[in-house]
Chain length 191, copies 4
Amino acid sequence: MNKRSGIKSKKRILDAAMRVFSEYGYAKANMRMIAKASDISTGGLYLYFKNKEDLYLTLMKSKMDDFAGMTMESVSDIADPADAMAAFITINLNYAKKHKELILLQGRELGFTFGLEMKRKFFKKQRGLIEDIIRQGMQSGIFRKVNVPETAKVIFSIIRGFVLGIVVEPDALFTPAECSKLLLNGLLKKE
Amino acid sequence: MNKRSGIKSKKRILDAAMRVFSEYGYAKANMRMIAKASDISTGGLYLYFKNKEDLYLTLMKSKMDDFAGMTMESVSDIADPADAMAAFITINLNYAKKHKELILLQGRELGFTFGLEMKRKFFKKQRGLIEDIIRQGMQSGIFRKVNVPETAKVIFSIIRGFVLGIVVEPDALFTPAECSKLLLNGLLKKE
Amino acid sequence: MNKRSGIKSKKRILDAAMRVFSEYGYAKANMRMIAKASDISTGGLYLYFKNKEDLYLTLMKSKMDDFAGMTMESVSDIADPADAMAAFITINLNYAKKHKELILLQGRELGFTFGLEMKRKFFKKQRGLIEDIIRQGMQSGIFRKVNVPETAKVIFSIIRGFVLGIVVEPDALFTPAECSKLLLNGLLKKE
Amino acid sequence: MNKRSGIKSKKRILDAAMRVFSEYGYAKANMRMIAKASDISTGGLYLYFKNKEDLYLTLMKSKMDDFAGMTMESVSDIADPADAMAAFITINLNYAKKHKELILLQGRELGFTFGLEMKRKFFKKQRGLIEDIIRQGMQSGIFRKVNVPETAKVIFSIIRGFVLGIVVEPDALFTPAECSKLLLNGLLKKE
DNA sequence: TATGAATGAGGGTTCATTCAT
DNA sequence: CATGAATGAACCCTCATTCAT
């Protein structure tokens, strides 16, 4: 009955879906909840999304794109590779702190049969960013010589670990600064 | 078809449940599948487990206990803290490599309403091991002075990141050796 | 197959439920039967009723309300208390004769954990009617002096007995007239 | 394992069944409960009873026989018909007071497809007793002339009403004395 | 574009009954 | 006689999806 632009409706649904999926997870969330939360009829959902999976995937893609944009932007104009790496970590951790539910949601459906490809693409992109930083660090001589893609992979894994740590431990006390310090300096005493 | 020792039946169910849950995840797995996979009737499942959740939780607990035992044992008699840490990482990564599905399954249900307490206890224990190693390293003077529990938390997160990395990337190339090297030495060139 | 007014669907379900519950009793009736009998899908039932119990209770409540209305109305404008009592009995017995299955159904679930409160309220109301009649009879001097609420209770029990008698004995021959005569005059010869 | 005489086991099962059926009703009681309550294995139940229905029916029959014996005995040697009638009522009400659950249980399954025949036979016998009393009362001239079988039916219904009243109302205050007074004298003031 | 009643397959769970021991 | 693990049909209920309006 409401005259709403299609785009606006789609946005509303996505927002509602975010709230609902975050709270209940993919499996326990149901279309009626999302319909109610977005104030759109059950049938209406299917005007904008092929099915539940499509809705979920679209949502995830948009969030990932947002985040990818953020990181890209914030890192691109930092000259010092160590600073850039620190910035990359910082933005990851801050985002995690702010959007625990999203991380949780993504993690929860980690190995899902669907959406894997999308996730992999996202990961690759992020790793690409790290690789660039490492290469710059090596060129400028402040990083040790390492196998770039492999190290990027490891670092990316570490960051994912940090992120999960923040999300999982309710009273996580570790700060971006500390995390990057450990990553950059290691545990051993510099002789 | 009757008469199997109760314990044997329980074991069969647990094994089958592991396979089924691994493949489909908790939500999409259904009791009928597990029944079929364990060659036990649907009703039979409920002779040994109160319900689906109980079955899942029991399964997880047994796996965690197994793993906790393994790490404890393998680390306990290594004198050098750096070696101990490396061993701890190695065992984590090797286990992950061998039991990807289990990790995935656990990760998938990360934020589950149930079983959280159990998982937290497990995490705490593992973190305790790391703390011990750090303390020894600091005493023997080969580790830098750090805030022990916090650092343990960070390291544990990092390891979790490694583990997930192995699981998520299908062609993970990173080795335990590399991982522990990075963790111990950091990315920056010494001096 | 779609689109029926909600109210109409609800009515159809209630009607079908009456038939099914009457024939099989609460425990042996199942939702699929009711669905089939109302020509509505299983899921459709749950659009209108929270669950089996709710459906049953709603059904009972509506029947009780109907009946309470009938008695109230038919007794209210009879001046002579003896006549009023006779009318009350008559309406009870006639209703029982016409709706054996309903009585049976209600009786069958007599001590049910649920719906007891509802039934008690209904009983209380009916007893209230009887009390009024007794009081009037005593005031006008044609009834003996009795303890009103207690006597009402007894009379109500007697009527319930009559009702059950009609329902249980397939070839019940006893008529309202006879019943009220016995109740009013007793068995002893008036000396 | 226990050496128990068959008869004793049967009795134990019946006793346990009484307790369990009373508490849960026929439908919600299950064989395992009865097995546990009688300390006999599930399979063992089927050594003594063909199935759940048979167990229930056997139980009911034994209770009815007991009760029929009691009434018969207690009424048989009372000379005065009014006293006999009063005694009959008294024994019914006292039994009801003592064995509410049994009455409830029987009432609950009133219209059951099975056991109806048995119940009818029981009712007939009880009615026969009442008929005898009425006939004696008419012969001795203290009862009014009435249609004997029909009046017996009505009286039996009334008594059933009393019995149910006792069971249903939690704080039933009506006494056997009162009940029989009303039944014998009626509500109207004499003359 | 929008609605929401309706569908129906499928999931978790129970329980009377059987049968190898 | 006795056991109790095992069976499997059947039950209540949910929910993604459709479609007449």
